[in-house]
Structure formats: C-alpha cells, structure tokens
C-alpha cells in the first residue's frame, strides 16, 4: 500500500502551469491531455455537421442547405470524426497512459511527441479552411474517390483536404514510432511483454498498423494531388490511368484504419471491465493473440469495401472478412467472462463499457451481412452501411472513449467526475444512439442509398429518417451534461486520491495527477496487475 501514497501533496495541475508551459511542453501527460482537448473540439465540430445532415434528411425536400453544402457537410463530418477525433483521441489516451502503465518516465522521443500533437490542429484547420475557399470544402465523401475528387469535378477544398490529411497522417506515423520505441525499450524492470496491460498491447498493435498502413494512404493522397495539380494520370482512365487503383490503395490503409480506431477502445474496455468487476481480465493471452490476429487479418480484407466494383476477387476477401469475426468474437466472450461471477460496481466507466459491449456486438453482427458478398451487393452504399460503421465506431469506439474519460479523469486531474451527470450522459447517449442508428438498418434494407441530400416522399423513408434525426438531437443533448460535468468537476469535483477505483495497473501507483517523470518508486511487477498485487499483498508470481 505504501507505494500509492508517495505524493500525498501533489498540487492540482492547473495551478502550477502557465499557458506557455502547456504550449511548449514535452511532457507526455500534458501532450496527452492536449490530444484529448483538440480531439473533443473536432468532435463537437463534426457533431454539428452531423446535425446539419440529420436535419436535412428528416423530411423529404431540401430545407436548410444546398446539395453542394450537404455533400461538404457529410464529407467533413466523417473526416473530422475519423481523422481528427477518434484516431487522435485514442492516441491521446495512449500518450497519457502508456508510459504510466509500463512504468516509464516519458515517451521515448518527447519532442517528436510534441510535434505529433501540433501537426493535428494544423492539419485539421487546413482541412476545415476548405469551408472558406470558393467551391467550399472537400465534398466527394471522406473516401474522395477519383474521378469525382479530380480537378475536373472538385475544387480547392479537396487540395486542402489532401494537405491536411497528409499532415495528420504524418502525425500518426511519428506517434506510432514513438509508441513502439517506448513500449519496446522503456518498460520498467519486471514489466515483460506478457505483463503489459492489454491497453498497452492494443496500442502496440495499433501502432504497427499505423506504421504499415498510413504511409500507403499518404502515397494515395500524393498521387491524387499530382493528378489534380500537376497533370498526372494515375487515376485518369482517359489517359491510361485506373480509377479503381485509388480505391485499392486507399482501402489498404483505410481498412486497417478501422482497427486503428477500435483496438485502443477495446484496450480501454479491457482495463475498465476487470477493475469494476474486481476480477482479472479473463483469458489475457487469448486476448493478446486475438488483438494481434485482428491486426494481421486487417491487412487482407481491404477489398471488401469494393465488392461492387467488379474488380475484386470476391471469395478471398469474403473469407478473410468472415474470419475477422473469430478473434473479435473471442474478445467479446472474454469480456463477458470477465464480468461473469464478478462483483460489478456500476460506476460510469463500467456503464460505458457495458454500452460498448452491447452496441459493438450489433456492429459486428451487421458487418457479417456485408461479408456475405451477394448480400453486400444489396446493402453496399446504403444506409445499412452507415448503421454498421456507426455501431462499430460510435457504439464501439466512442463509448470506449467515454469509458476512458470517466475512468482516467481522476488520474489526469486529481478530481472525480460527477457520477450523477455521468449516468445522465450515458442514458441519453445510449438511447439517442440507438434511435439514430438502428433505423438506418431498415432504411438501408428499404433501399435508401447513403450520401443523398434528398429523397422523394413516395419512397416511404421519411418516418425512419425523422426518428433518426430525433435521436441525433438526443445524442447532442447528452454532450451537455458531459461538458458541464468536466467544467464543474475540474473546479469542485471530489478529490480523487491516488487510486479511487481500486485499480490494477501502474498508473494508479503514482499520485493524481502524476508528477513530472511519473514515478519515484514503482511497486514490484510480477503480473499484469502490479497495483492489485501490492494492494492484496500478492507479491509472488501467480
């Protein structure tokens, strides 16, 4: 127990830091927090764009925006949410928590870490500046398929989008290198690979995916840029180029990117579930192998986004896509087995984690429909796909993100978030989410294509669209208690202490917030739960 009270009088972090310190810091904890803040700002921006889309679709007919702006809205909604919210916020958690979890004083390359951070708002603003140029922001969907995204059909906004995304990709690659060196080289004595928390494993696999996949996206973007601006013909079918080529290169990145967006969230869930059920994670090694398996399979399924192009070897990609379900299923069962016969405390992190399990399951099952190629012929590019990706990335990743925020906020700030507001947020978000996205399954089955600004009343899609729009506003409402909670709790939240959740991993063995360079002393590391071992006097190997 002694190890947990080494910094009894750590001052609250706000009082000792000036703005200048924050802007020039190389401390992984401050950088991690700034990652989170930056990501949440783009989350709000992306959310507002989502509401624009939902309001426009609530009823047949164009009500509030033009077709041109509608396309910009959903394109930038997706770009913000994927590249500037989910990926960076998970990297932010990794930044904050990975060095703490492995008992390291900082990341391996603190200055490169700061560079990774500052590239993000730069890239994001570059992307967003498209709204202020003539022709508007990028509008060919976040996938930016040529020829539509080519110079003939898309304006300057697309160039800004390409430049912004290239910077964001560079940020990811540098971050991944930093994570890998940190994890491989900076673990505390006793922290063997198989004693690392699962969160660290997921960041490790994610970083490998980023390292291998993101440069390929960069190459696709650069080729697109050359086609657009320097008279290249990579994707120009009229001059020997190949339009499908872009899709192959793009999805070679963007499918692994889905795992980049979900694996760290799975890691967060895998930290939260054991703590709040007072049991170890069931099947730690199986979980690690499943994570590695998902990462490896992730590179062989990219073309399942292209089944309807007619340019894909269907059976191979169908098989690989189905097989992804196996390691994912293993994880799901291990999580449930972790809850099984535990002693569950429904604090807000566990609520969000349970929400993750319930919703991510749906996101996995409705994905299996699209793995069945002929069914995908019917469902591809309809609202079914929109439902699927939101169940995975919102029901999965975003619920995981909020579980992580509620779980680590005490560590980051020294103060607890309010439980009542947290539960209110969860209830609103859970209901709003399902109202918004569940009906999209039925819309897709009814034949509503995605990315259309309008539809005729005779299609019979209006009822479900209205429901989805109402749900969208409930999700938006659920953010109010959250931001209020953060503001209030920063000032007057309950003081957390070092280890408010009776948790397992090393970050809880230092003060809240941790001092610069994190630890004076570390507990003995004999398992993947060193703090649990110390608390319960289990210092022998199990």
């Amino acid at each position: 127990m002694a190890t947990t009270t080494l910094h009894p009088a750590a001052p609250a972090y706000r009082s000792r830091s000036t703005l200048y310190d924050w802007l020039t810091t190389t401390d992984h904890k401050k950088i991690g927090i700034m990652y989170l803040i930056n990501s949440l700002m783009f989350f709000v921006a992306g959310g507002i764009l989502a509401l624009v889309v939902r309001v426009e679709l609530a009823q047949p007919g164009l009500q509030i925006v033009s077709e041109e702006f509608y396309n910009q809205a959903f394109t930038m909604h997706a770009s913000f949410m994927l590249f500037l919210f989910i990926i960076p916020i998970l990297a932010g958690f990794g930044n904050y928590i990975v060095p703490l979890m492995i008992g390291a004083p900082d990341m391996a390359f603190p200055r490169i870490n700061a560079l990774s951070l500052w590239l993000l708002p730069l890239g994001g603003l570059l992307m967003a500046s498209g709204f202020f140029v003539s022709g508007g922001a990028a509008a060919a969907g976040w996938t930016e398929y040529p020829p539509l995204s080519g110079a003939k059909f898309s304006g300057t906004g697309t160039d800004l989008w390409i430049m912004g995304l290239t910077l964001i990709g560079t940020s990811s690659i540098l971050g991944a290198i930093n994570f890998l060196v940190t994890i491989f080289k900076m673990r505390a004595p006793g922290m063997t690979l198989f004693r690392m928390p699962v969160m660290v494993w997921t960041v490790l696999v994610t970083s490998i995916l980023v390292l291998m996949a993101t440069p390929v996206l960069t190459s696709a973007l650069i080729m697109l840029f050359i086609d657009r601006n320097y008279g290249g013909h990579f994707f120009d079918p009229n001059n020997g180029g190949n339009a499908i080529l872009y899709q192959n290169v793009f999805w070679f990145y963007s499918h692994p990117a889905v795992y980049i967006m979900i694996l760290p969230a799975m890691g967060i869930i895998s930290e939260v579930l054991p703590v709040f059920s007072r049991k170890p994670l069931f099947g730690y090694k199986a979980f690690v192998f499943a994570t590695v398996g998902i990462g490896a399979l992730g590179f062989s399924v990219w073309a399942h986004h292209m089944f309807t192009t007619g340019a894909v070897f269907l059976p191979f990609f169908s098989l690989m896509t189905f097989l992804i379900a196996v390691p994912t299923g293993v994880k799901m069962f291990n999580w449930i087995a972790t809850l099984w016969r535990g002693q569950l405390t429904f604090a807000t992190p566990l609520l969000f984690a349970t929400g993750f399990l319930m919703l991510f399951l749906i996101g996995g099952l409705n994905g299996a429909f699209s793995a069945a190629v002929p069914v995908d012929f019917a469902l591809h590019d309809t609202y079914w796909v929109v439902a699927h990706l939101h169940y995975v990335l919102f029901g999965g990743s975003v619920f995981g993100v909020f579980a992580g925020i509620y779980y680590w906020f005490p560590k980051m700030t020294g103060r607890m978030l309010d439980e009542g507001l947290g539960k209110l947020q969860f209830v609103l978000m859970f209901i709003g989410f399902n109202l918004t996205f569940f009906p999209m399954h039925q819309l897709g089955l009814a034949g509503m294509p995605r990315r259309i600004a309008d539809y005729a009343a005779s299609t019979g899609w209006s009822e479900l669209n209205t429901v989805a729009t109402i749900g969208g506003f409930i999700i938006a409402a659920s953010m109010l208690p959250f931001f209020w909670n953060v503001l209030v709790s920063l000032r007057s939240g309950k003081v957390a202490g070092d280890d408010p959740w009776e948790a397992n991993t090393l970050e809880w063995a230092t003060s809240s917030p941790p001092p610069p360079y994190n630890f004076d002393h570390l507990p003995e590391i004999r398992s993947e739960r060193p703090v649990f071992d110390a608390r319960h006097g289990r210092t022998t190997n199990h």
């Binding site: 059909f153 079918p237 269907l314 429904f346 349970t354 319930m358 190629v373 069914v375 109202l435």
Partner: protein, 372 residues
C-alpha cells in the same frame, strides 16, 4: 488486505432498469406515433420491406440474407442475454467484502469459443461463395442493354446481337415513356458505362448493385420474373445531385416488350436526330439552366410560333425544355442536351394561356410560360 466495500451499490439496477424502460417506452411511442404495426416492423428487417426481390438472382441473395439474419439474430439474443444477465446477476452487494474468485482464464472455453464461431463463419462463407457463383453466373442473353451513367442522368442503349450496334437509345430515365424497359422471363445482359465519374446501378428490388466505372466494362446478367415498375437510383456518390439520379425499370410481358422495342426502333429510324435549326422562327426568348435550375421562373411570349434559345450551363448534365398545358399534357418537348451547350427549340404556335415548362430529366426544374 482487501478494502471494505464502499457504499456504491443500489443505484445500478435502478439506472439499468430506467434505461431499459425508457428505451422500450420511447421506441414504442415512436413506432405507434408513426403507425407502424408489428408485422410491418418485422418486415422492415428484410430487404425492400420484406416484399422480396423480383429477379431470379435476387431470390438467391434473399435466401442468403435470411440465413445470415437468423444466425445473427440467435447470436444477438444469446450474447446480449449473457451481457444483460451478468449486469443484473453479478452486481456487487454490500456483503461482498472478499474478492470474487480470481479466475484468469480457461483454455477449454477459449478453444470452444474460437472453434464454434470459426465453424459458423466457414459455413456462411461456403454459402456466400455458392451464392456468388449463382449471382455472377454468365448466361446467353436475349436482351442486351448498355446503361450509360452521366452526371446526373441515366440513359439506356438497346444493343443489337453483335453487342455494339445501338438499336435505339432510351434517353428518358423515368416516366411512362421512359425507363429501362425489360421483358419478363427473358435473360438480360447489362453493360455499364460511364464517361465522367463512378456511378452505381442500383435497383433495390433486384437486391443488386454494380459500380459504373469509367474506363472499365462491368457486365451482369439477370432475369426479371415479375412484371412491374421498379425504382432504381445511382448508389455511388457522383456529385451534388447524386440523390436525383433516378431511373425506373419497367418489366413487361415478352410480347408487349417486343412490340415496344419494335416501335421504338422504328421511331428512332424514322426521325433522324433533328438538326439544330438555322433560322429561328418567331421571337426568340432566352432561357438557361444553371446548377440544375432554370434561370427564369416565368417566361412570356406573344401568340404564334416562337423560339427558345436554351443555354445549358451545367457541365456534363443533361437538360431540356418541355412545355405542358394546364392539364399537364405535353405540348412540346425539346431534345435533351448535355451541357455546356446552347441550342434553339422551335415551338409551334400555342393557344393563349398559362403553361408550365419543365426539364424532363429533372422534374424539379419548373417555371411558368404565359402565352398572350
């Protein structure tokens, strides 16, 4: 060494219960408000509202969908059941001071829940593969049509047996006189062609779509086996008006189709493409189409023949001017031209009164024409 349990039990079941009650209540209210019966709700979980496909191949797809759906439903109920059961059954009680058994795992169950899902997905894969072969099978076709997608217009070239010669082009994608007309019960081959961006040929009732990729020839076969009119739509984002790129499939009995096709070919041969007229008759009025809208909502002409100088300023978008009288009957229809282009439409004398002019391709583009 374990910490005493904190007073943190109690609110969990309440919250969980509230969530479930609220979800059910809101869902029920929303459904009832929209007048949705349980049967309609159930059908909405199947393609095209449970009404099923109308081609030979769509039935194979539907069968596969049903299999996947029922397997997914069973897994869904089982796993969600386990989660919900754990949530209610294993809440920490105030008597739970000692740790629960610290189980780290069990290799047997890991193997079980690896092998069973593997078996399920392999079966699904085998079924999918089989269905792929059915859906993708090439058969000799009776009718060969080339669907040409251009922003934001479909047109359909009916091809001769050589697969090259165009018998005639159906340039109207929707409406009584337009659409992709096909015979029931005859194998059809569709070629897909685009000269601008990627589009996708999608007919929900076919349970099928295929991308129209510039520089690439995609083909597919099917046989429609129910007469009727089926909505089709572009399913790959192609620009701002992607959502208005609609078409219709009219499936007609074989005899009727043959008659229709013969008529269309005869008509196409009888009226050679009208050459742009050299000298305009009567007064000339200006009209332009810009961003899929007419630049003027009202036009005024004196009695007698007149000429509309029509300027289509939308690159790669087809427009025309069609004039309808008060009853909605067509009194003039100009040729559809793809912009940017200028053309003259010569309109013969119209009785004084109020007419509507409209773009045949984009029924949203309308205006009022007054003949004095």
């Amino acid at each position: 060494m374990s910490m005493p349990p904190r007073s943190r039990t109690g609110s969990g079941p309440l919250i969980a219960g509230l969530i479930i009650v609220a979800v059910v209540a809101i869902a029920a209210i929303a459904l009832l408000a929209a007048g949705i019966t349980p049967e309609r709700a159930w059908n909405s979980f199947f393609p095209v509202g449970g009404t099923g496909g109308v081609t030979d191949r769509s039935r194979d797809v539907q069968r596969l969908y049903d299999i996947v759906f029922y397997i997914a439903a069973v897994v869904f109920i089982l796993v969600e059941g386990l989660i919900v059961y754990s949530v209610f059954r294993y809440r920490r009680k105030s008597t739970d001071t000692d740790l629960p058994p610290q189980i780290h795992g069990n290799n047997l169950v890991e193997v079980i829940w690896t092998v069973i899902p593997t078996a399920i997905v392999l079966v699904l894969f085998a079924l999918s593969w089989q269905t792929i072969n059915q859906v993708e099978a090439k058969v000799p076709a009776e009718v060969h049509v080339r669907a040409v997608a251009a922003r934001y217009q479909w047109s359909f070239d009916y091809l001769a047996a050589d697969g090259k010669t165009i018998l005639f082009t159906q340039s109207l994608p929707v409406g009584e006189d337009g659409g992709l007309v096909l015979p029931v019960g005859e194998p059809v081959l569709i070629d897909l062609r685009s000269e601008d961006v990627i589009h996708a040929f999608y007919v929900p009732k076919f349970l099928f779509k295929r991308d129209v990729v510039p520089g690439r020839l995609n083909q597919f076969n099917f046989t429609v086996d129910e007469p009727g009119t089926y909505r089709g739509q572009c399913a790959e984002l192609c620009g701002p008006f992607h959502g208005s790129m609609l078409f219709e499939v009219h499936a007609r009995p074989k005899a009727e189709f043959d008659q229709w096709l013969a008529d269309q070919i005869a008509k196409a041969n009888a009226t050679p493409a009208p050459a742009p007229s050299g000298d305009a008759a009567g007064p000339v009025i200006q009209l332009a189409a810009q961003n899929v809208a007419f630049t003027s909502a009202t036009l005024e002409v004196p009695a007698g023949p007149f000429t509309i100088h029509f300027k289509n300023e939308d690159p790669a978008v087809p427009h025309n001017v069609e004039i309808k009288d008060a009853s909605g009957a067509q009194v003039f229809k100009g040729d559809i031209v793809t912009g940017p282009i200028e053309t003259d439409y010569r309109v013969s004398a119209l009785a004084a009164g109020t007419y509507t002019f409209v773009c045949t391709v984009h029924p949203n583009m309308t205006g009022t024409l007054t003949v004095n």
